[in-house]
Subunit: 351 residues, 2 copies
């Protein structure tokens, strides 16, 4: 993953034992040793893995999908050149030698084994059908979930790899029809209808915020960091200006500089304003690109702080949203897919 | 100046003797020793100066405004903390001790002396009225041109500092009514009516291109550099997609990655595509923000390669443009203002 929207929560150390929630909404925010008393005696049945560019996260699951233990390391695929099996075994060496199901960049061309994209519209069953399976050198069964690719006559293609698992988790819970937003470095907007992902759209929102606030000339006009940007009135103001006022993002961003020069706006307020411009810009662009229709239910899946910012942005324009925990959805999605391919007993058959 | 859209033409050395044209369209691209025979005997009457963040450029002018000699150094105001007089005298020490008129960031709060912004709408006369004048320690008269600020009920404020001089040059030439685009790191679109600058809008186009092509994850999907990006068909395709197709910039940029992943588009073609997205995004944003109306004449003032790219972008959507040399306009603007404030004889009175 590239630097995240919510940079203050980034994990800089290579193997934090209590990693913070990521801003991408993709990561599992696992804590070690959260085994509950009721499950302390459950044997592990499956390891659910979210293996991205910068981090490798794993959860040991019971046969009923309950989380027994969690761990993670900095062995993202961007830091490895080969050695995936060793990196994985290093991380989960203390756990039982059960099968693993993995999602994320681990299935890309640069990953362990490539799981080619399945086409959109895509059902969970189609995703399960695209899962590739192999045994490690040590004989552990591994399943890797594919991403989804989209072809559209109106624009160039688009791809999802990692976030699809959370959407499957949401579909598994039922009643997911509508819009699912997975905010982050590269925000994904997906349309769910009839239990399938019928379309999606990627926005570089988190990366744009990072580039502008830290690497552009605007860095002189904004604070390095802010506590809760979406609570600042200037956040709401920027959202309204872009979404309701219709001021295009590219026409709005220079104002961050002008506000400082002409109005003496503080760098803290200006950072919140810039955050509102990029999130509002994303919402306006999604609307204008047809990624959502008025009235469709909107679910925001991700880390709490980022989900709250999106929730507040929608509230500023009179739209209500439902916030869904991203960590739970990763596990729910991987459990669902593991059951479809027989890596876990189906719910009806579990003891 | 921050890194420019046309990065291959950037001047990296501190005091190039034959500097290339800058991509910002603001800089004067002077060459040393271009004294023509007919002017070889003219005494210098005025030094015209474009003093920006990264470079200090100066031209020695005859009383009729003709250029006698040119020079420049890397003593931009961003590299100085005080010592402006010494930096200037170091550069022009060989020239006669004539008055100087300066435009650019030298008049900002971080410059030599602040020339506060005048309000928009602004005429050349109003700009001349905002010029601040003082004598250096060595007794040389100096005039510094102010920038222009804009207040709008529809958006936050905007500022120009440097480019206004080129617009004055254009107005001085007559028939400038319409839109003037000064492409660059921070592109400016100005509306000219009745010999006044009635509005303007800043876009971070050049900086956005630099950030995305060199500092975002898209850097893996685009070439480091390209010869003539606007000649590549994918440039035109991207312009049409954003301007005619109406795909918002934020909704379009991830496709640079998808094109590489799904379509195997070359990094060279993808760089041209990204260039088309940012320039097309600027044009679409300018239109949507009301910065130009269909039918208004469009003049592009700036360095040739960048002006050509904008010309081709407009041609792709069926609009014709006129290209105006930025260097000439800087001198023409400073000469015009110098005459208004009496630093040079007016044209009617010169011998």
């Amino acid at each position: 993953m590239l630097p995240s929207l919510d940079a203050r929560r980034r994990v800089e150390d290579k193997a934090a034992r209590r990693p913070p929630t990521t801003a991408t909404g993709v990561g599992m925010s696992f804590r070690r040793g959260i085994m509950t008393r009721s499950r302390a005696s459950s044997p592990g049945a499956l390891i659910a893995v979210d293996w991205g560019t910068t981090r490798l996260r794993a959860a040991l699951l019971a046969a009923d999908g309950g989380v027994l233990d969690e761990t993670e390391s900095g062995d993202g695929i961007g830091t490895l050149s080969g050695g995936h099996e060793a990196a994985f075994e290093r991380l989960v060496g203390d756990w039982p030698k059960v099968p693993a199901i993995m999602a994320g960049m681990i299935g890309s061309r640069q990953g362990w084994r490539e799981a080619p994209y399945v086409s959109c519209p895509a059902t969970p069953a189609a995703l399960a059908g695209g899962i590739i399976r192999f045994d490690t050198g040590a004989g552990r069964p591994v399943a890797i979930v594919p991403g989804i690719m989209l072809r559209s006559p109106d624009r160039d293609g688009d791809v999802i790899r990692g976030e699809e698992t959370q959407i499957v988790g949401l579909i598994d819970r039922g009643g997911a029809d509508g819009i699912v937003i997975l905010p982050g470095t590269h925000s994904k907007w997906a349309t769910i209808a009839g239990g399938a992902i019928t379309g999606f759209h990627t926005f570089l929102t988190g990366e744009m915020f990072e580039l502008l606030s830290r690497h552009s000339f605007l860095r002189h006009s904004v604070a390095v960091d802010g506590r809760d940007l979406s609570a600042v009135p200037d956040f709401t103001r920027a959202v309204r200006r872009t979404v309701e006022g219709g001021l295009p993002f590219l026409a709005a961003i220079f104002s961050v500089r002008a506000r400082q020069l002409l109005d003496g706006v503080s760098r803290e307020d200006n950072l919140a304003y810039l955050s509102g411009l990029v999130i509002g810009g994303e919402i306006a662009a999604a609307r204008d690109a047809g990624a959502y229709k008025d009235g469709a239910p909107i679910r925001i899946v991700g880390a709490k702080s980022l989900a709250r910012a999106y929730h507040k942005a929608f509230a500023a324009i009179g739209r209500s949203t439902e916030q869904v925990d991203g960590t739970e959805m990763v596990v729910a999605g991987l459990v669902h897919l593991a059951r479809v391919i027989g890596l876990l007993p189906t719910e009806g058959t579990r003891s």
